[in-house]
Symmetry: C2
Subunit: 230 residues, 2 copies
DNA sequence: ATCTTTCCCACCTAGGTGTGAACC
DNA sequence: ATGGTTCACACCTAGGTGGGAAAG
């Protein structure tokens, strides 16, 4: 019966705890996407992520390692889908173009990693994966208390990590010590895939996407795609 | 970016935190099995739980509600499979009998609920379910850091809940404020079901157990069971 | 007309069941 | 022989995919 470390659970309505927040960036904290090669492949074609009302998981997964934390400090790691720019996008003639102003969107909501505030040692010992989150096009106001992130379709987003360190003195508070926004993980939210190259990458790399044994080697269904990628 | 509440994660090897422990039972804290009728049905026939090397989930689930906590206090809830007595059991002539001395067993390990230390308000607002745990007959020493609970086959256990309250003054420590051991949830660990009545209750009530549409209404398999229960 | 969204679906992965034969 | 344990397996539930038609 020994507490080992603390975590703060996401998406719950209580609001006790530590309202005091400061900032003090620690340059020793480093990040690395664990599946960087895969993200790169997608990024070359402009990554698309499906959004649905019920919420769709990200693929590739947003998974990374972190290094340079104080092994005994308590850290919480937040993910925010930051609007990349003020454009609306359109896929035409085989590529994405900015077309006009972005929709008005409510501010991006940070989502704390399900581990919550735990010691640096544990954060650094395993890849960190946002596995429960789902992307949705439902407005935030309609959401149930789940791991849904509201995005606007045909808009570009930058997954961004913020790391907070919990301090205990002179009083309990927490401070921002690192941010990270890997460009290769940016994506455009869509309700249906636009670029067939992206579709093929998803099918070829996501075990849940059919195709591997399905229609790839001749099935009943007729297909109409063409093209090149992996 | 607001912490809402704290939790302590289970089964991790770190050991920082709050070694000081006290006891002060609070009689206002009450518990209730959410699926009491089902537990009762099993208990009438003497509940059996399968243990395997890989770990087997409990059925019925150990799920309950709690009441009478301080809504703003931080509580952690532990589950311990306490050896019920010093007997070894055997199923013979259609019923369980004590036969000789229990094996020597290492002390029962409490498992903290995955929510860890969170405020009473949250504990009281939803049923509490130990959903991740699995029962195994592997010795503790062989285990990976998962939610495995080591039990001895043919021995009787009493699922027991312990509730700890985290105090902040005069220093950080936690104290035992309630225990609960519902007799209807006791069970005998087995590597294969002994009582056919128990098997039938499992099949009829666990959605993962085949039988509902399977061999119940005539299939190829020949069966050799007989009997009565639900 | 054109573009975007929604919905249902077949088809997967992942993993929780008891079975019965083999093993010890 | 006996009785407990293990293992591979068929058969489920649960849920993550893109497809395609239909709707907006």
């Amino acid at each position: 019966v020994d507490p080992t470390h603390f975590s703060i659970q996401p998406n719950l309505s209580l609001n006790q705890a530590f309202p005091i927040k400061t900032e003090e960036i620690d340059d020793r904290i480093k990040f690395r996407l664990t599946n960087e090669a895969l993200w790169d492949n997608f990024h070359k074609h402009t990554t698309e992520m499906i959004v649905t009302k019920a919420g769709r998981k990200m693929f590739p997964k947003f998974e990374f390692t972190i290094d340079g934390l104080d092994p005994k400090g308590w850290y919480g790691i937040y993910l925010t889908m930051v609007p990349k720019d003020q454009n609306r996008y359109k896929f035409q003639a085989g590529e994405w173009s900015a077309v006009g102003q972005a929709d008005v969107r409510p501010p991006a909501m940070p989502v704390i990693h399900e581990n919550g505030f735990i010691v640096g040692n544990v954060w650094m010992s395993n890849p960190i994966c946002y596995d429960r989150i789902k992307l949705t096009n439902l407005p935030q106001s309609d959401q149930t208390n789940k791991y849904l992130i509201s995005l606007a379709s045909m808009h570009k987003y930058q997954p961004t990590i913020s790391v907070y360190l919990m301090n205990q003195s002179p009083h309990y508070h927490y401070k921002l010590v690192a941010t990270w926004a890997p460009k290769t993980a940016e994506f455009i939210a869509v309700t249906a895939y636009q670029n067939q190259n992206v579709t093929k990458l998803k099918i070829n790399n996501n075990p849940f996407a059919k195709g591997k044994k399905g229609f790839r080697e001749g099935s009943i269904r007729k297909r109409s795609h063409s093209s090149s990628p992996d």
